[in-house]
């Protein structure tokens, strides 16, 4: 056990994957000598060499397109897209090629490619550095889309993603990179929660609060504050955004009768909409109120000085929780 940051935990997970499988590779912009702009790949090129930890040309489509070729050759590339807003040049390769190759081949081709994307806001950045594009990929069949929320889970999830024979879009909550927690880097991977399962991170009985990535911590803090108001809030970290673990969600909402979904991405046509529809269908007779959503507005990501108004915080989340009791 050691107390490490989320950034370090992913680094340790990558290191373990590189050690245990010679076919695992890291590729991306500045991932080698620099160790990544968030230092997630720090020290890996020094220890595993330039052939396995590759500083690529500055071209996102090229990163994903060549990773597909390497996977066709038997490699397991882990690509880094430097920031959420830079993934779009690679969208064609991800959506038209990476996601569809297994289907196109009738199951004869597997593309075990992981695409790591630091996502979300709250770091006071300039444009294109704070976005939450997960729903584009969750809407694309053939991809697995996951988001980690804390160091211990991130350590396991990155290894599970690399071990997956399906392509995985792996979202990392960039404003939580420096959050610290105890991580057992010797823990066997087989003991960890499967990649496609959600987990209850804080049990409660009055309302179910669903989130993923950076807002999981915010939701836990909201639940703690809710205790003071006499509200018992159950917080679920979805982890997998595609496929969704609706069994865990429906079990919880059936008990609590109320459900709020929180994410940084715009509410409109966001993941919360899908969850609300599914919860309504699965828990119709148990629901005491409509499923409510808290998230970004229907605007482009705003300027840094205004982002606190855009990002759901404890108060906005608790406001939605309160509203579920007003029906």
């Amino acid at each position: 056990m050691s107390r490490i940051t989320l950034s370090r935990a992913i680094n340790e997970g990558l290191r373990r994957a590189l050690e245990s499988d010679q076919k695992v590779m890291i590729m991306g912009e500045d991932v080698g000598r620099l160790g990544g702009v968030f230092r997630v790949t720090d020290g890996l090129q020094k220890d595993f060499g330039e052939h396995r930890v590759v500083d690529t040309p500055l071209a996102e489509s090229g990163i994903v397109g060549t990773a597909i070729g390497l996977a066709l050759r038997g490699y397991r590339p882990v690509c880094e897209i430097q920031f959420d807003g830079f993934v779009y040049p690679a969208t064609d390769q991800i959506v038209s090629q990476l996601a569809k190759m297994r289907y196109r081949s009738g199951g004869k081709v597997a593309l075990p490619v992981v695409i790591r994307i630091p996502f979300g806001g709250g770091i006071g950045a300039v444009e294109h550095h704070s976005e939450s594009p997960e729903v584009f990929f969750a809407h694309t069949a053939g991809l697995r889309v996951v988001a980690c929320a804390d160091p211990a889970d991130a350590f396991a999830m990155i290894q599970l993603a690399i071990a997956s024979d399906d392509p995985v879009i792996f979202f990392e909550p960039k404003r939580r990179y420096w959050d610290k927690a105890e991580v057992d880097t010797a823990a066997p991977l087989a003991d960890s929660l499967p990649l496609d399962k959600a987990r209850v991170v804080r049990p409660g009985s009055d309302v179910t609060l669903l989130s993923y990535g950076p807002l999981v911590r915010t939701c836990i803090e909201a639940a703690m504050a809710g205790d003071n108001d006499g509200r018992s809030i159950e917080v679920i970290d979805l982890r997998s955004l595609s496929p969704l673990d609706m069994a865990t969600v429906a079990e919880s909402v059936s008990r609590t009768g109320r459900c709020v979904v929180a994410h940084e991405a715009p509410v409109y046509a966001g993941l919360g909409a899908e969850i609300a529809a599914r919860v309504t269908e699965a828990c119709f007779y148990q629901l005491e109120s409509p499923v409510l959503r808290v998230g970004g507005f229907a605007i482009p990501y705003p300027v840094a000085r205004s982002e606190d108004h855009y990002l759901p915080d404890i108060d906005r989340i608790l406001d939605a929780v309160d509203r579920t009791f007003s029906y």
């Binding site: 040309p57 060549t66 070729g69 066709l72 490699y75 190759m101 297994r102 289907y103 004869k108 697995r144």
Partner: protein
């Protein structure tokens, strides 16, 4: 600037020697046979589409030499990444050509194993496969293999795509064992090469730091010799080469296209005089390497092949409805499993109705 086009067999069927491209190992009769069979396959496919048995076909008429010549230059261990018109390459790689018909009939999206014949799946989005080929070539480098190279097929229109430029840059800086084989068939559907590039396509590689060569794309011998040398150079660690096979699409872009809207009949006639098969036939006859029985035998073989293919295509069953849900993921997906289950129950409802009525 003069443009040198490598040619080893003139349109009249005269052999031309080129000091850099000696032709000591070319099976010219075998090349003719491949081109003739591929042309017959292509004709049959167009007919099948016209009769409503294929959803679409992308004819290769006119490009037989570029495809057969380059594909026959590949060693069995080399990997080919096609676009969607490379039926001649598929044939030379040994793929059962029925797989390609299945795709255009609409019963698969391809569904062949790329490694079985070292021939990747067709790629429809223009130029995407050039990056896959580059990555595959980088894998060969990492494996330390010295007897493998990769060839990426694409067209003149694809050279405008960002992915092709990215593939050029990557292959160059990583020195990847790769041959970029561009069939300049003069049309991106209706747009001429002048709409894609101000310089001849083969010169595009120079800015990326690797050699480019233009070859007479209707000369199967030149396509064979130039590709063979570029592959050898790739295997020997000398990095990528761009080959521009200057040819002509004598058919339509696809069976939904009407080329009379964008080209003159006289242009087509001019290119007919440079037909890739006729020049080989003239050469073989004049040099006494083949007589009429050779050509009659190939014609009979082509007819038999086409007739068997037609029967096989007509016998192709539609996929069972629940196969919709297969091969999306390697692992399971609870969301998709539930949809499959619901749709199966929905379909089963009709079966029960039929029984009771």
């Amino acid at each position: 600037m003069t443009i040198e086009t490598i040619q080893l067999l003139t349109p009249e069927g005269e052999r031309v020697d080129h000091p850099e491209y000696p032709l000591d190992d070319a099976d010219i009769k075998g090349m003719y046979r491949d081109m003739a069979l591929v042309r017959r396959i292509d004709n049959e496919a167009v007919a099948l589409q016209r009769q409503g048995e294929l959803a679409l076909w992308a004819p290769l008429l006119g490009q037989e030499a570029a495809q057969v010549g380059s594909a026959r230059a590949l060693s069995p261990s080399d990997m080919a990444f096609p676009s969607y018109r490379e039926h001649g390459v598929a044939w030379c790689r040994g793929l059962d050509i029925l797989r390609v018909f299945e795709l255009f009939r609409g019963v698969t999206h391809g569904a062949w194993d790329p490694e079985e014949h070292k021939f990747h799946l067709y790629t429809v989005v223009i130029g995407d496969q050039t990056l896959h080929a580059t990555g595959y070539a980088m894998g060969i480098q990492r494996d330390g293999s010295e007897n493998e190279a990769v060839i990426a097929y694409f067209g003149d229109g694809a050279t405008s795509q960002g992915d092709v430029s990215e593939a050029f840059a990557w292959a160059s800086v990583f020195h990847a064992p790769l041959v970029f084989f561009c069939q300049n068939n003069q049309f991106a559907i209706s747009a001429p090469p002048e709409r894609q590039s101000r310089v001849p396509i083969y010169q595009r590689s120079s800015g990326f730091g690797f050699p480019g060569i233009r070859v007479d794309g209707n000369d199967v011998l030149a396509c064979y010799a130039v590709t063979k040398q570029a592959l050898r150079s790739a295997r020997e660690g000398d990095g990528p080469t761009l080959i521009e096979a200057f040819t002509y699409r004598m058919g339509a872009h696809t069976t939904t296209d009407d080329p009379t809207r964008y080209r003159l009949a006289s242009e087509l006639e001019a290119w007919r005089l440079r037909d890739p098969l006729e020049r080989v036939r003239s050469y073989l006859v004049r040099t006494g390497q083949a007589d009429s029985s050779f050509f009659e035998q190939i014609e009979a073989e082509a007819d038999e092949l086409a007739s068997k293919l037609r029967a096989s295509v007509l016998a192709l069953p539609d996929p069972p409805p629940l196969a919709l849900f297969d091969n999306v993921y390697a692992g399971s997906s609870a969301i998709l499993d539930a949809e499959r289950e619901q749709y199966a129950a929905y379909l089963a409802g009709f079966a029960e109705e039929e029984v009771s009525s």
